[in-house]
């Protein structure tokens, strides 16, 4: 069992702050690092993997700093986002080379177990340059698993995978976590993280915005004020009804369409059709104005 600990970690490049004062503990089980593109997820993973020193703060694995400490790679397996590998060799040769680089006692058996685990035995003797994106991803997984690490760091592992491969990888990660390993992966897709991760760490604009299990994160995301744009046959009547009913906090009628803000998402979506029906108003269009992940995240940060 291993625990990664980040205490007050910041990282900046010149004037640009990529990671801003992040403190988190990543223990056994699956942890999802969730955030929009450019939020600093890769920077965080680079620091956890010992490939980037924090500008301030500390990153330790079981109490030992990871920067400039190649011994940590006995317990860390890394699946980088970059697709480049040593393309001229076959998948098998590459995994075997990784086993040898780790100095394992029985590299052939270790490589066989790892390649088998990612279900690549059939394609193992083809050149990596001829692999599909999903196959490359699985060989990358095999190289990270070959030395049986207690910590697995994966940077956007689901990118470019088809649904079947996605499911397979999810099962694999879950089984690894069930063995007591610490598995951390990054993603910008909430559903992906929700399905897989016991713990979710949300990062937005370099800051640690939220932390907890998916129910907590879901709740945080659904309980924020929701904004809708509504067009109807009688905007003013509908606006009056919504305000009177209390399901909307504010309604702006000035722009020709209704701009509605509702803090209780569930109540609003149930009330709207009923109010329209009672008032004999036809709903022409109901659009969530800010459902992009970015705006959800930025709400979490602003909170």
């Amino acid at each position: 069992m291993s625990t990664l600990e980040l205490v007050g970690v910041s990282r900046w490049y010149g004037d640009v702050v990529a990671v801003n004062d992040v403190t988190m503990t990543v223990g056994p089980g699956v942890t999802g690092l969730l955030g929009p593109n450019g939020a600093g997820k890769s920077t965080l993973i680079s620091m956890m993997g010992g490939f980037l020193p924090p500008s301030s703060g500390s990153v330790t694995l079981d109490g030992v700093p990871v920067w400039r400490n190649t011994e940590v790679y006995r317990s860390i397996g890394l699946v980088p986002e970059t697709e480049a590998m040593y393309d001229m060799v076959t998948g098998w040769e590459f995994v075997l080379a990784n086993a040898r680089l780790h100095g394992l006692a029985n590299p052939v058996a270790a490589a066989r177990a790892a390649v088998d685990q990612v279900d690549m035995m059939d394609a193992r003797n083809r050149d990596i340059s001829g692999y599909s994106k999903g196959m490359k991803q699985r060989i990358k997984m095999a190289t990270a698993l070959v030395h049986n690490p207690t910590v697995l760091l994966l940077d956007e592992p689901f990118n470019g995978m088809d649904p079947r491969q996605r499911l397979h990888l999810m099962e694999l990660l879950q089984s690894l976590a069930a063995q007591g390993r610490t598995v951390l992966f990054s993603s910008h897709i909430l559903e992906e993280v929700e399905q897989l991760a016991g713990t979710i760490e949300v990062v937005v604009a370099g800051r640690h915005a939220a932390s907890g299990d998916f129910r907590r994160i879901r709740k945080l995301m659904t309980q924020r004020p929701h904004q809708y744009t509504i067009r109807s046959s009688d905007n003013r009547a509908l606006a009056a009804a919504m305000i009177a009913d209390g399901s909307a906090d504010s309604v702006d009628v000035s722009s020709g369409a209704l701009a509605v803000q509702a803090s209780d998402f569930g109540r609003f979506v149930r009330a709207l059709p009923k109010l329209a029906c009672d008032g004999d108003v036809r709903l022409l269009e109901v659009t969530p104005a800010d459902e992009s992940l970015e705006s959800v995240f930025s709400y979490l940060v602003a909170r």
């Binding site: 680079s46 190649t70 790679y73 006995r74 970059t82 040593y86």
Partner: protein, 242 residues
Amino acid sequence: MNVTVMQLTARNLLGRRRAMFLVILLLLLLGLAMLTRWASDASPNASSVLANGFALGTVLPLMGLLVATGVIGAEIDDGSIVYMLAKPLRRREILFSKLAVGFAAVFIFAVLPTMAAVVIAGDEGGQLMLAYGVSAVLAAIAYTAIFVTLGIVTRNAVVFGLLYALLWETVLGGYVPGIRAVSVRQWALSVAERMLGSQANGWAVTSEVGMTTGLVMLGLVTVAAVYLGVRRLRTLTLNSIE
């Protein structure tokens, strides 16, 4: 040294299109050697001018540069070096393995062809071949160390390397005499000059520096480059900027 690192490095170096350039450069040198023989009737003097100016002055640094990009620069650029660095291996071990592969490649693709070119273009009892062979080996060691380290220190190693190979060694040296003494080629050439003794002048094998200075400078530069290379590899940061 680590055999696995060397294997992967060698596959990487020769597997890409880069290997084609190595062969083209080699063939160019041999072709020029044949032309030289035909044009100047196998005179050792013309042969020496070819070996000195083109082989040592252009082919060797260019080959060193190409090979260095192949053994480490390209891997740092595309990020695949992470697979070697994320291992419980001393970074020194990784660098030495890569330097060994790099030197072997420069030896095969530049040093041996230089000796062959001298034989083809004109020699007298193998003297020139031996002298240029030793000089080329020394220059190959220094160039490999310098360019491999350059590949770790900067992502623009090719630009700097080309500027050095083309401007510093050939053009600037022609205008500013002082620069001529600060050059891997001149240092390496000092050994050939000493080896040929009284015939050196007649065959246009003259170095700007004496042999002691030349060897000391080659040693210093090589050791400094390797030291810097290991230090930089230890703190190499990898981050796919989002």
